[in-house]
Amino acid sequence: MSIIEICDLTYSYNPHTSFEKKALDNISFTIEKGEFLGIVGTNGSGKSTLIQHFNGLLWPESGNIFVLGRNTRDKNYRDQLWKKVGLVFQFPEQQLFEATVFDELAYGLRNMGLNKQEIDTRVNEALENVGLDPEQLRTSSPFCLSGGMMRRVAVASILAMKQEILVLDEPTAGLDPEGSAHILQTIKKYQQENKVTVVLVSHCINELILLADRLVVLDNGKVGAWGSTRDVLAQDDLQHYDRLFPDYIRILFDLKKHGWKINTGMLTVEEAANELGRVLKGGG
């Protein structure tokens, strides 16, 4: 069952003025229940604009988007959608505002109208999920934490709401490799344990290749490619996005460009090495 269905979605900034800029152009694809979808694209390709359609912050200029089966053109539905779709913005640590980490996490839960006890358990659970010690942090101010810790608190504040769909906009931007890996592991674990649908946006495909079941490549507001990660990588017409890809896949792309009969749908370095070995042996 499709949990999000996007049909011919088009969206422009400043419509009908001289500043009009088409951010999304005739986008169509579906997101299945329980899958891990990666959206990849360069800066300005419309990734952030697209995902704000998922929880009703934006709505299409033309075309439709159905979230959990209902059209987001319905304003009442749109306004309630935050309870079903969690959205972690880019640099979410810039949105922290409460006096303590506990209140920060509890903010969304209180807006959901949960009772005190439930809020208490969920806050603890979410903090543990992102690898923070609830006892130690509950009463400290979020502004006193390091950048990486603030990021984790911000992500936890969405995880605590336990929505059916979790959307994250470049959650690893600006973090060191260790911090990035930690956030990504947290998300994957959370998805598997809670059976939620996850949409992860990134300009760096490396982190999506192993995590995502399927990939959408956005290019200048259009869908450049869409399908299972392996299929997307195996496509022929991806070469003009190749700066997005990791080195070992770029090598395969290059060889293919030079006429080698090689399968570029390789997820890991080992797979790529095996494929190279196979082709070399066969005299490809």
Partner: protein
């Protein structure tokens, strides 16, 4: 941002865009002074024509300018109604028990024209002058105050920095608002106190972010040897050319001279 800010700078290469910011500032000032000290019909009409000519020459989309006039019109109709009701004078005609006087109509009309000119002249100025040029122009015009011990350069820097960061702050406020909406922030709650509390969820991160940015900016400026003195250089110096002389001449003829010929009430 779905809506465009009224009066925001629209880049262009028109004649009006090319004028020196000082010319435009002085011109705008002349128009405003003219219509505020004098309310006779010829003066108001001349200035209205002048402003429309400027907007035409600036190649600004008339529609986008007139969007703002819509609100002005509502305000003006209200004032016109009140002026008609309460200004005593030669009766023109009766509307039931209300006597509409000549003076009432006249006052309402002039009030509308004055507002229109004020609005249009300031829009024409800000729409054709980039914030940086505007700050440069203001600095040059206020430069003589330096001899009175006023730190004109610092004020100009202050002004250009604030102008520079207005759009950034608006954008940031919008993003934070959306982020808090995603956590269910009740921005449209019927209770005023709830809405007030909710606005804090945007204000606090905004202030924290601004302070952080101010620190970064200060470091960046100091590392490029900014000391606040009057001797820093610009990439583009202001240039007062023949077009500017001509423009100022026209303004003197249209704005200042009629004041002498058509003395109106202040």
């Amino acid at each position: 941002m779905r809506k465009l800010k009224l009066g925001g700078y629209i880049p262009g290469t028109s004649l009006i865009h090319q004028l020196d910011p000082r010319t435009k500032l002085l011109g705008g000032l002349a128009v405003i002074i003219a219509i505020l000290v004098n309310d006779s019909w010829p003066v108001l009409l001349l200035n209205t024509l002048l402003i429309f000519a400027v907007i035409y020459l600036a190649k600004i989309n008339m529609k986008s300018v007139l969007q703002g006039v819509k609100w002005l019109l509502i305000l003006s109709i209200l004032t016109l109604v009140f002026q008609c009701l309460f200004t005593k004078g030669d009766p023109l005609f009766n509307l039931g028990p209300v006597v509409v006087s000549k003076q009432g109509i006249y006052r309402g009309g002039t009030f509308f024209l004055r507002l229109l000119i004020l609005y249009l002249s300031s829009s024409a100025l800000t729409m054709t002058t980039s914030p940086m040029k505007m700050a440069g122009g203001l600095e040059a015009l206020f430069a003589p105050l330096r001899y009175l011990g006023v730190p004109v350069n610092q004020f100009a820097m202050l002004l250009s920095i604030s102008l520079r960061f207005v759009p950034t702050l608006i954008e940031e406020a919008e993003t934070i608002t959306r982020a808090q909406k995603s956590r269910g922030a009740p921005f449209t709650s019927p209770k005023k106190i709830v809405r007030l509390k909710t606005s804090l969820s945007v204000l606090i991160p905004l202030i924290v972010g601004s302070l952080q940015r101010a620190t970064d900016l200060a470091t960046a400026m100091e590392s490029r040897c900014y000391t606040g003195g009057p001797n820093y250089s610009r990439v583009k110096n202001l240039h007062f050319g023949r077009k500017d002389q001509l423009a100022l001449g026209i303004i003197v003829v249209i704005c200042i001279l009629p004041l002498v010929y058509f003395p109106g009430r202040i």
